[in-house]
């Protein structure tokens, strides 16, 4: 039952025309909702969550840093999955999605790096520390840059999407090993011991705003992907009947 519903969605959203209509219905309320949820989470974290007893107020950067970092990772995994779908089933929508995900994902990786660096100054006394998490994020950012560079270099939009999909699929397999290797490397060289995001469990009055801003960033990600996918779809399908009917 659930499976058949899922496969039906898969096939419907795989059709450019259906996807366009779907985004037409969803976008008008999704983007205000995404902004609202993000603003709620961030303001809650900035103004209402209690201070951290160890790091003071600088820890409030967590409410943007962690959602950005997790969004960047999630986006890359999504590109890899789309790459696999495209490789196996040659689904056109997957090509469009890969190209639509890359810019915002790369941006989130950059934001995670920038906020991590700013957070590092009061915590470590320096903007850049070769901390395991920040280093992994830097590599993820490089992986995104590679995908974007490949997309930009290939003039044919279909080929660009497929190539980027294959690259991100290889990259996703690599990300796991990168993460593990960087942690090993860090322990080998005995870097700073104080982590920005500790392992200690968070009290609920900090965790709640963190989860809300995380949801908000994911929703904003979805909005950016929908807008970019629509642009690409319209242009690709400009000669088909359903696009011509639009105006």
């Amino acid at each position: 039952m659930i499976w058949s519903t899922l496969t039906r969605w898969y096939h419907q959203l795989g059709s450019p025309r259906y996807f366009y209509r779907f985004s037409d219905v969803v976008l008008p309320w999704l983007w205000p909702l995404a902004l609202l949820v993000t603003a709620t989470g961030l303001i809650w974290g900035l103004a209402f969550a209690p201070e951290d007893y160890q790091q003071g107020n600088s820890y409030r950067i967590i409410f943007i840093h962690v959602p950005a970092a997790s969004g960047a990772l999630l986006g890359y995994v999504a590109m890899g999955v789309a790459g696999l779908v495209n490789l196996v089933w040659r689904m056109k929508m997957a090509e469009v999605m890969i190209k639509a995900i890359a810019p915002f994902g790369a941006l989130l990786a950059a934001i995670a790096l920038i906020t991590g660096a700013i957070w590092g100054k009061p915590t470590w006394g320096t903007y850049w520390e070769w901390d395991a998490r920040l280093t992994s994020m830097l590599i993820l950012f490089f992986l995104y840059l590679g995908v974007m560079a490949l997309i930009n270099a290939i003039p044919d939009p279909r080929q660009a999407g497929r190539a980027a999909g294959l690259l991100s699929l290889v990259g996703v397999i690599n990300v796991v090993i990168v993460k593990y290797s960087v942690e090993w490397w860090h322990s080998l060289h005995q870097g700073s011991t104080l982590k920005l995001v500790g392992k200690s469990s968070m009290p609920p009055e900090m965790l709640t705003p963190l989860l809300i801003s995380m949801l908000g960033i994911y929703l904003l990600f979805a909005v950016s992907v929908l807008w970019r996918a629509r642009a690409e779809l319209l242009w690709r399908e400009r000669k088909s009947a359903w696009v011509k009917e639009l105006h």
Binding site: A47, I64, L220
Partner: protein, 59 residues
Amino acid sequence: MYFESFSAFLQMGTHGVYVWSAYGISALLIVGNLWLAYRGEQKVREELRRLARREQSGQ
């Protein structure tokens, strides 16, 4: 509100500069990126409308 006054909120102990710059840069980048995505879609639609008009007048 966790802070006692608005100025305390802005100062955040001694960490105000860091917290606010991190949030400011992030907000700017995210809003800018979303705006570009939105404009990109609008531009394609304008272009398609232009192409359609040209096609009609050509007939």
